[in-house]
Amino acid sequence: MSVKAKPAYPFKPTWCTGCGNFGIWGAIKMGIGALGVPKENVVMVYDVGCSGNMADFNDHYGFHALHGRALPVAAGIKLGNQDLKVLVIMGDGGCYGEGGTHFINLMRGNHDVTLLIHNNNRYSLTTGQMSPTTRKGTKTKSTPVGSIEEPFNPIAIAASNNAGFIAREFAADIPKLSARITEAMNYDGFAMIDILQPCPVYNPAMSYEWYRENVISLESEGHQSNSREAAWKQAMRADKLATGLFYKEDKPSYHAQVKNLQQSSLTKQPISDIDISSLAVEFK
């Protein structure tokens, strides 16, 4: 007892009691498990945040990226080695705020990565400031008299912005979330799941109970996931937060449209035999 304990690997979660990340974490492990892919072929890219702290709790290859920059890293990994499954963990702050332009622009490219946004409506790791999804009027450390901005609606944006796989799930519904993660990772292209994540410490108002009362499943509504318009309407409704698969469409992913990636991944293309003579011709 008087000796400092060595940590077990991977580290044990350091999230607060009741944190929604526990459920998501469980669902991720189940969701990946169901893929039947060797462990080393799944790469997880983590943004900085309470969510991203998960980097130390998993046993896959991991890349703990800079705040807001997980998506370009993930796109780069996939361009480097398209044989990998790439799963991206971000917070709402990193994904829609600091990294907002990556979100709206890489989505359009249909890079074949799966993006999970742990949406707790706060910058939690930095102790609870307003995030892009914070509801108007909310008091946080950076908005002590109430936030002025109306919240960002990631699902509606994705529906308006060419995303091919758009879903929202609730952190506490582990079976549904894990199945959705598997489905998203099996999808060939950019797949996003905005996850409603309770943060009892900095967002106590949006508790598990609150979510249970405010969530409605798209399945129960007979929603058809092949219509952008239906997806957008469900995303924009003010009465409830719909969960489930908003939209899905098959189309070629980014790397599938790059000529030099048709035969094999870049990692498999050797550099032991480079010939620049044909390139040199134009400089004669």
């Binding site: 580290f11 980097a55 480097g80 032991s272 480079i274």
Partner: protein
């Protein structure tokens, strides 16, 4: 008129084919076996501004642009106004009075001129206005003693993709110009003007001419580049354009990202999978990349960043040159990690150092910044591509990574004997680890422990010692007898060599020490040269003397004498000479 060199310039409205005409003339000169140096100026607007392309060519190496012109091809009246100062009594001006409504008498030229109806001649043969430029090229060729056949071969190569008809018309135009000039000269219209033309030289197999940016792009491909992600910014954009256009032949993937931050983080993502990667930008875009430089540093991911400088602060003057980002790139990003900073001095060095950058980034698992400026990036140089087939070994990859009892692979193993630990890449069983932007332990998992922090900082710093051992002899052309030793970095090499040659011709010996390695810094070499020099002048393209600062910081030697320029223009040998003679 100088011995066995000529200095030619075309000037006119940007957007009116000045760049292509200049390139054709330059290639024509090069295919005569001459060494060339081309310099261009243009404003930061798309059409309508003043645009120049000048070619300095000779049978001995030429190092930089020259001020005084042998021949000015003036495509409008403004060209005459702008470049009057560059004419001597031996110069010749070609202009088109009919098209440009020029009354040449008004300009008080110090030299002879040839009124060449370029547009009219072109139109007469059914060619377009812009093709009239080739009339000017044909005339230039005749007047400087160049071979029309060679000019035609270049015209063919440039316009071939537009079809044979276009090629033919351009050929006709060139011929018309050539003949017009011959006739005019024969008719005595140029008075006593003459140019002492010199012989065609052997044109070696390995000879090329390319700009600094083309050299960087090609050198990177030669160095094994596989993934290039960038965002356009003058004067770096032509690297993106070149690589995008040659994606297929080069066997690489090029991504124009949504901003510089995305570009560098994509490159890092690809690097994590084991492929050689790179990004490119100018100072403004580099600013946004600075956090990610540290990610390369802390997680020991190979990365090459190409930065081409232009005058600042902020947007500054986009299409002009400067060397004002040196100290910024040497220290950019929070906290400390080893990095290479290279500043090639000409296109040959740009090619070699770009190749080397790919190699060293992988070997030392970290950051290489390749620094250029508008002057090097967009000027065209003669170079030799001796080797065009390359084979690269890979560095630092563990082919059989084995995870230990933690279930992770010790990617960042602390080994006092060996600063460089072996990598594993995703997909390799047993190689699992975290590539972390936080401080981390041997497996890459985040740590805040004092001892582990120190160990990992020390591990990274140990690489610096090995990196220092890579420092080659810096370019030094000088001797103990030199009256002056110039110290410079990067592209300033050319004008200094040009000055050195001109001074030598006048019996004044000066030396040039041009640094291409700025980090790690060649402390001993620089100290030695300084100590052995009679008089040292630091020449650099900024206001505050950043190279001088760096030299003082590294060697403890304060250098008082300097020659600096910060108006966006390159150094001129003539002005350097004036400076030291004053």
């Amino acid at each position: 008129m100088s011995m066995n060199t000529f200095n030619w310039k075309v000037a006119g409205l940007s957007g009116e084919g000045i760049m292509v005409s200049g390139l054709i003339f330059s290639k024509t000169s090069s295919r005569h076996g001459f060494y060339i140096f081309d310099y261009t100026e243009y404003p930061s607007i798309i059409t309508g501004g003043h645009n120049t392309y000048q070619v300095h060519a000779g049978i001995e190496p030429v190092y930089a642009q020259k001020e005084k012109l042998d021949l000015l091809l003036a495509m409008n009246a403004n060209a005459l106004v702008e470049h009057l100062d560059e004419l001597t009594s031996n110069s010749l001006v070609i202009f088109d009075s009919s098209d440009d409504k020029i009354n040449i008498a008004e300009f008080n030229l110090p030299c002879k001129s040839l009124d060449l109806p370029m547009v009219k001649l072109a139109k007469e043969m059914g060619a377009t206005r812009l093709m009239g430029n080739n009339v000017g090229l044909g005339a230039s060729a005749y007047l400087l003693g160049l071979d029309l056949e060679i000019l035609n071969s270049v015209i063919h190569d440039i316009f071939a993709r537009k079809g044979q008809e276009v090629v033919d018309l351009n050929h006709k135009a060139a011929k018309a110009g050539y003949e017009f000039a011959r006739n005019a000269k024969a008719a005595g219209q140029l008075g006593n003007w003459d140019f002492a033309a010199f012989e065609k030289q052997e044109y070696p197999e390995s000879r090329v001419t390319f700009t600094g940016n083309e050299a960087v792009a090609l050198g990177s491909v030669a160095g094994g580049l596989k993934l290039f992600a960038a965002y356009p910014m003058t004067p770096s954009s032509s690297v993106l354009h070149y690589l995008a256009a040659h994606e297929d032949k080069a066997g690489i993937v090029v991504k124009h990202a949504e901003d510089e931050i995305s570009a560098i983080n994509m490159a890092l993502g690809a690097s994590f999978t084991g492929v050689r990667s790179m990004t490119s930008t100018s100072g403004g875009g580099f600013a946004y990349m600075t956090e990610a430089l540290g990610l390369s540093g802390v997680s020991e991911l190979p990365l090459v960043v190409f930065e081409s400088m232009r005058p600042g602060p902020a947007l500054g003057m986009p299409t002009w040159t400067a060397q004002g980002d040196l100290q910024f790139v040497v220290t950019a990003s929070q906290d400390e990690f080893p990095r290479f900073v290279f500043a090639p001095g000409d296109a040959q060095e740009a090619f070699e150092m770009a190749k080397l950058s790919q190699e060293l980034a992988e070997k030392y698992q970290g950051l290489v910044i390749l620094l250029s400026d508008k002057y090097l990036s967009e000027s065209r140089y003669t170079a030799e591509l001796a080797v065009t087939k390359l084979s690269h070994e890979r560095h630092g990859f563990n082919q059989n990574p084995v995870s230990d009892e933690t279930g992770f692979y010790p990617r960042y193993k602390i080994d006092k004997e060996n600063a460089i630990s072996m990598r594993s890449v995703p997909g390799q069983q047993g190689g699992e680890h975290i590539n972390n932007s936080y401080e981390h332990d041997e497996y890459g998992l985040a740590t805040e422990e004092s001892q582990m922090r120190i160990s990992q900082m020390d591990k990274r710093k140990r690489k610096l010692k090995l990196m220092k051992s890579e420092i080659p002899q810096q370019f030094y052309s000088g001797s103990l007898e030199d009256e002056i030793t110039f110290i410079s970095f990067g592209s300033t090499k050319g004008p200094l060599l040009e000055a050195q040659r001109q001074l030598a011709a006048n019996g004044k010996k000066v030396g040039v020490l041009n640094l291409t390695w700025l980090s790690p810094f060649p402390i001993e070499q620089v100290s030695k040269v300084i100590k052995e020099s009679k008089r040292v002048v630091v020449v650099e393209g900024n206001q505050c003397g950043q190279l001088a600062n760096l030299i003082t910081q590294e060697t403890g030697i304060k250098l008082e004498e300097n020659y600096r320029r910060y108006d966006g223009r390159p150094f001129y040998a003539e002005e350097i000479i004036k400076f030291i003679n004053k």
